[in-house]
């Protein structure tokens, strides 16, 4: 199979090139969404309204978009730092679950607490739990050279089982009629909401602060620079004396802390207790967000918002038009697939073989 085209890396790119692929992917995903809704019997105009207009039309819905953007933004910023260093942490879902567990311990154990520092303690515990879970992969990679993709994947599944065990036993609400969930958190353990009636909470500010911090870390700090050199040119990094082990630990710990914090914000925000389901796949969706944002802190901000619109649009369509919730997954998949396809044309010069031959003849 000789492909009818050849690819070669572009030597120079227009300053707008980084925008082309994400915009093409977003457009393609919107079109795919409209097509899908139409096939499911929703009129095109209604579909367009539900998918794109409704999520940003009422105060409550805007709040929902920001609520779902919070964990995506936080996790994706953490992951992108590792991805730039070519450290593939696929375990954000598990690190989020551990963060939710760690963040739940204080409000479950001190259920009638009035302590105003409760949230701070929860955030610390949750991010430490997320970091600790990621540290397993970091240790195995730096000590035994164990592939972090596979280890973090396995840790996702183990984290889920750990959560099931805890909510069915040690952390279950003793007055909860045997339901697999913890007691409801006290008021001091709940994040304050931001504006009237909407569920978006103060976690959003932390995610935005993380975005600013990520920008400085990536663009302005020596450590961030070292990580990136390690990813782009490992030989050069080694020659310059940048430690690979340090890069592994740093990448995974940052990713784990961010995902853990996102887990705390779920239980201290919309959930208000520890349950069997603490995330609708945010840890995996954040991988898509990180790539769609071009592993760039500013790009990730917009990617997280768009992904959140898909979540909310899907919710609305399910509630009002009976469109299955599963369309959200389909649109997420389409988003990354089209993004990668578009990147081919941005990063490479794609030539048909016929014209390439003609160029060679000249």
């Amino acid at each position: 199979m000789r492909l009818p085209w050849t690819v070669e890396a572009r030597a120079q790119r227009s300053p707008f090139a980084p925008l082309v692929a994400p915009l093409a992917a977003v457009t393609a995903t919107i079109l795919a969404g409209l097509l899908l809704f139409t096939l499911l019997g929703v009129p095109v105009t209604t579909a367009f309204y539900q998918l794109l207009v409704a999520p940003v039309s009422t105060t409550f819905n805007i709040g929902e978009v920001l609520l779902k953007a919070t964990p995506l933004l936080l996790i994706a910023q953490g992951l992108a730092i590792g991805f730039r260093a070519k450290i593939w942490n696929i375990g954000a879902e598990g690190q989020l679950i551990l963060g939710a567990i760690g963040g739940s311990l204080l409000p479950i154990w001190f259920n009638d607490s009035q302590n105003p520092m409760m949230l701070v303690g929860m955030a610390l515990a949750g991010s430490c739990f997320g970091m600790g879970w990621a540290a397993i992969a970091a240790w195995l990679r730096s000590r035994f050279n164990a592939n972090e993709i596979l280890v973090t994947l396995m840790l996702n599944s183990i984290a889920l089982q750990l959560l099931y065990y805890l909510v069915a036993g040690p952390l279950r609400d003793p007055f909860g009629f045997n339901f697999p969930q913890s007691a409801l958190f006290p008021d001091v353990a709940m994040l304050p909401t931001l504006f009237g009636g909407a569920r978006v909470n103060a976690g959003l500010f932390v995610a935005l602060a993380a975005t600013v911090a990520a920008w400085f870390f990536v663009e302005r700090s020596m450590t961030g620079y070292r990580l990136q050199v390690g990813g782009v040119a490992p030989e050069a990094a080694r020659y310059a004396g940048f430690s690979e082990k340090r890069a592994i630990w740093l990448s995974l710990l940052i990713g784990g802390a961010a995902a853990g914090l996102a887990g705390v914000f779920e239980v201290a925000g919309p959930l208000g207790q520890l349950q069997r389901v603490v995330s609708p796949g945010y840890g995996f969706a954040a991988i898509i967000v990180a790539f769609l944002g071009g592993l760039n802190p500013i790009g990730i901000l917009f990617a997280a918002l768009f992904m959140a619109v898909i979540y909310v649009g899907g919710d609305i369509a399910q509630a009002s038009a009976g469109v299955p919730y599963a369309v959200i997954g389909i649109l997420q998949g389409v988003l990354l697939v089209t993004y990668i396809a578009a990147r081919l044309f941005v990063d490479y010069r794609v030539r048909w073989r016929r014209s390439a031959a003609r160029v060679a003849a000249h």
Partner: protein, 306 residues
């Protein structure tokens, strides 16, 4: 049925889909491609297979249709990573999410429905052995065919030219290309075959072993499949061993619960994942051994097409 027969028969039924899907993933990874979308492929195949068996009543057609559905999904993955040079990890995750979404969508009208079980094909004489017979030799025909596929693949990767070409492409695509093999074609075919086999495994779960459809029923088995291939160090004979071992853990969980032993079932469910992590660590600590076992170019983008 006494508990030993139940354990044997249950192990075989739990292991068969893991085995066929893991053998498929093994082919893919041997060719140097890491396809992490197994969970989504199996889910889509399970839904497709269930719909086909509901409509036609043919379990064989359902298994085949499941395989085709997953193969089409794997073709999307193959185009993205082979032709669009996409990152294999991110693309695999995304295509997996896509597959789970498609499965949920087409399966919605069938949620909670059941179908008739597949006809059993007891092996003459062998199935009359007390305890062992009904446990091991009284299953639908497909159950006995899957280990034969393993034998075929074991032979293929050891001696057949095709197996050696796939291995060469996975070890060093540049060298394989230099001696005249078409790297992209081999990898494309490997991904499609692996997709088909993951699909048969997924459809097996909905139409043979559980005979029902419910969204999310694959329940992490796709991740077990990926664990299995690594746990087996990319060796066919160890995939077989590992599949029956992991299958036994799935059944032991039910057995332990029914016997009233208070070991948390979640711990048993986690054993395959923990075992895999330990195996990765043990294998990787010796740099030479990991190089001998893991396909060298696994997960790397190959852009040298001209």
């Amino acid at each position: 049925m006494d508990s030993l027969t139940f354990l044997l028969s249950g192990t075989i039924l739990a292991a068969t889909p893991l085995l066929i899907a893991a053998l498929g993933e093994l082919i893919v990874e041997k060719s140097g491609v890491l396809n992490l979308s197994v969970e989504g492929m199996m889910a889509l195949a399970a839904a497709t297979g269930f719909i086909v068996v509901s409509a036609t009543g043919s379990h064989w057609l359902a298994l085949f249709a499941g395989g085709i559905a997953a193969m089409l999904l794997s073709a999307v993955f193959a185009v993205v990573v082979l032709f669009a040079l996409g990152n294999q990890v991110a693309s695999g995750i995304a295509v997996g999410i896509l597959g789970l979404g498609l499965a949920g969508l087409i399966g919605t009208p069938y949620e909670g429905m059941t179908v008739a079980p597949m006809a059993r094909a007891p092996v003459p004489l062998l199935s009359d052995i007390p305890v062992l017979g009904p446990g091991l030799f009284n299953h639908p025909l497909i159950v006995y065919l899957v280990p034969l596929v393993a034998v075929l693949l074991w032979w293929m990767f050891r001696t057949a030219k095709l197996g050696l070409v796939i291995r060469a492409v996975g070890e060093s695509p540049e060298s394989a290309h230099a001696v005249g093999y078409n790297v992209l074609a081999v990898r494309f075919a490997a991904v499609l075959v692996g997709g088909f086999m993951a699909g048969v495994g997924g459809a097996f779960i909905s139409v043979v072993s559980s005979t029902l459809w419910s969204d999310g029923m694959i329940a992490g088995r796709g991740w077990i499949v990926i664990a299995l291939v690594v746990f087996a160090m990319w060796r066919v004979e160890r995939v077989v061993l590992g599949a029956y071992l992991f299958g036994m853990f799935a059944i032991a969980e039910l057995l332990v619960q029914s016997m009233g032993i208070s070991a948390p079932s979640q711990l048993l469910t986690s054993v395959p994942y923990i075992a895999t992590i330990v195996a990765i660590a043990l294998l990787s600590r010796d740099g030479r051994r990991i190089r001998l076992n893991a396909p060298v170019s696994l997960g790397r983008v190959y852009a040298g097409t001209h």
